[in-house]
């Protein structure tokens, strides 16, 4: 683990004071995600203007990494189109998968998460919010 604390500070900030936490009252899209290994749960609510995500809230019952990931995601996706965020999501997934450490520009701000990718058991924690996002995107398509 290469100097984990520098990331931890940012992660912890997000975990302690998550951005866009809670539930939108009348969301256009809603999805939940569940981690069967630990029972963690997450609910994502989005409101849309056309294809653009107007507002986003996440309700998290999970660990710091799951919480931080949801918080970072919410900051990243607001005001972007569904197509854009799905692409970001897949770039994030790729970065977690690949062996090298270079990170595409679009997900640079997720570096503190990606830096933890060697901890394979935590990938699911990082991805929980994004799974809910992809679920929303799928709903939006149909």
């Amino acid at each position: 683990m290469t100097n984990p604390t520098i990331y931890r500070k940012l992660l912890l900030k997000h975990a302690r004071h998550p951005k866009n936490s809670g539930r939108l009252k009348e969301p256009d899209l809603r999805a939940t995600a569940y981690n069967p290994l630990c029972g963690d749960e997450l609910e994502l609510t989005l409101s849309m203007t056309g294809t653009v995500i107007e507002a986003c809230k996440t309700q998290v019952r999970g660990c710091a990494i799951c919480q931080a990931s949801a918080s970072m995601m919410s900051e990243l996706i607001i005001k972007k189109t569904m197509t854009e965020v799905v692409q970001i999501s897949s770039q994030f997934a790729d970065s977690l998968q690949k062996e090298t450490n270079d990170i595409p520009q679009d997900v640079e701000c997720l570096r503190p998460l990606i830096a933890l990718k060697a901890h394979r058991s935590r990938i699911k924690c990082m991805k929980l919010a994004w799974e809910a996002l992809e679920d929303c995107a799928a709903q939006n398509q149909t």
Binding site: M1, P4, L12, C38, C63, A64, I65, H119
Partner: protein
């Protein structure tokens, strides 16, 4: 404290304990998940493959006879270790989970009918719960829960109350499936008493000994249980091997489990007849090397003695429970009294998710588990989603527990 001295010497028997994790020596405190293996167990596997490897039972050549001897000798050793009447009561499986599925399927199929009941407890591992859900669904039988008695005070005690069992043991109950020792709470259940109560009402008992065999003396004859299941990998033996003990009467009333080579008497085109137990329940090439490894593991434990191993574990437990008192923000799940428990201790630090705690502990080389430990019904009952668990093995030392508590203090600093 005499046997704690034994420990520091026997640690050398376990090659993995020399490992460094993130710059610290490994403090392996997840023995309820799986145990580490002494050199003698590893050597047994190597010895088998280097000298005796062959398929069993069917060959007349030397290697096949040696392998068969090793395999059947393993059966005798297991029988002796758990106090079974005979080695023909010992069925080799892949693990506790398969042992219980075997009973739920091969016994359940023939002996459970619509409207009858199976009792399980709220502290059961999924492996002693889901098979009964499936058997209940297949037969139309009903699954009934023996509830936990939770007394929240300084700590949350999870016990099974025998008076409650008394109420549950109605005429329609056929079988009670209960763990000998909880894999979360550490609670030890009074199996002999439970079996006596159940038998008085004509109810059979399956004892899940996955968390017991490495931690206390076992005697199926004294306990008089109908079935007992455990896994090799949790008793310092290899993965891929488990045991089901069943009484002779029970073996007689069971239909087949899986079909295939080794379990038949005569195969004809449309139907077959079966070998006698235990072979009847062991379809396919058995895990011979793993049986040899398991035998070595049982020998290893015997060398130190189960009462001594138990006492050692309880000394560690006592120390850990005492250190916990320094943490007012720590919630213990399970009895605080070492006379009711094993060295499996679950807890939470308030306001920190168990995943995060375990992650930080790993940075200090300390291995503990975080999650629901395959007991979602229990966790729901405790009102939590996940917990931390430390669990001891015969090689653990007081100093490792102290390292854990220092690291916990560190965790608190990081997250609060």
């Amino acid at each position: 404290m005499q046997n704690l001295q034994i420990t520091s010497k026997l640690r050398e028997d376990f090659p993995i304990l020399k490992r460094e994790i993130n710059g610290h020596s490994l403090a392996y405190l997840d023995n309820a998940a799986t145990t580490q293996k002494p050199q003698s167990v590893i050597d047994a596997l190597v010895c088998f493959y280097e000298n005796h490897n062959s398929n069993v039972s069917r060959g007349v050549y030397t290697l096949a006879e040696e392998a068969t001897e090793i395999f059947e000798d393993g059966r005798k050793k297991v029988a002796k270790f758990i106090g079974a009447e005979s080695s023909s009561n010992i069925i080799f499986t892949r693990g506790t989970t398969e042992s219980i599925n075997l009973v739920a399927s091969a016994w359940g199929e023939k002996n459970l009918i619509k409207g009858e009941r199976i009792i399980v407890t709220e502290m059961e591992h999924h492996s002693n719960l889901v098979p009964w859900q499936l058997a209940a669904q297949a037969s139309g039988a009903e699954l009934v829960y023996w509830p936990l008695s939770l007394e929240h005070g300084s700590s949350c005690v999870g016990r099974l109350d025998l008076h409650k069992l008394d109420e549950l043991l109605t005429n329609s109950v056929k079988l009670l499936a209960v763990t000998v020792a909880s894999n979360v709470l550490g609670t030890v259940n009074p199996i002999a008493e439970i079996v006596k109560m159940a038998h008085d009402r004509g109810v059979l008992v399956l004892a899940d000994a996955a968390q017991a065999v490495a931690r206390m003396p076992i005697d199926v004859t004294e306990w008089n249980c109908d079935f007992l299941a455990f896994s090799g990998h949790k008793v310092y033996g290899p993965t891929g091997i488990g045991v089901l003990y069943a009484k002779q009467e029970r073996l007689n009333e069971m239909s087949v489990f899986q079909g295939g080579g080794g379990m038949i008497r005569k195969v004809s085109r449309q139907a077959s007849t079966w070998a006698d137990a235990p072979q009847k329940f062991e379809a396919g090439t058995p895990p011979v090397a793993e049986v040899f490894g398991l035998s070595a593991a049982l020998e290893y434990m015997k060398k130190y003695g189960m009462p001594e191993i138990q006492q050692h574990e309880l000394q560690l437990t006592e120390h850990a429970l005492k250190r916990m008192e320094e943490f007012p923000d720590l919630e213990l799940y399970g009895p605080a009294d070492i006379f009711e428990r094993t060295g499996v201790i679950s807890f939470n630090l308030k306001n920190v998710h168990p995943h995060d705690v375990a992650q930080v502990l790993d940075e200090y080389g300390i291995a503990v588990r975080a999650g629901h430990h395959c007991t979602q019904v229990l966790h729901e009952q405790l009102g939590i989603q996940a917990s931390l668990r430390m669990s001891f093995g015969l090689y653990n030392e007081i100093s490792e527990i102290d390292r854990l508590f220092s690291a916990l203090a560190q965790v608190r600093r990081i997250f609060n």
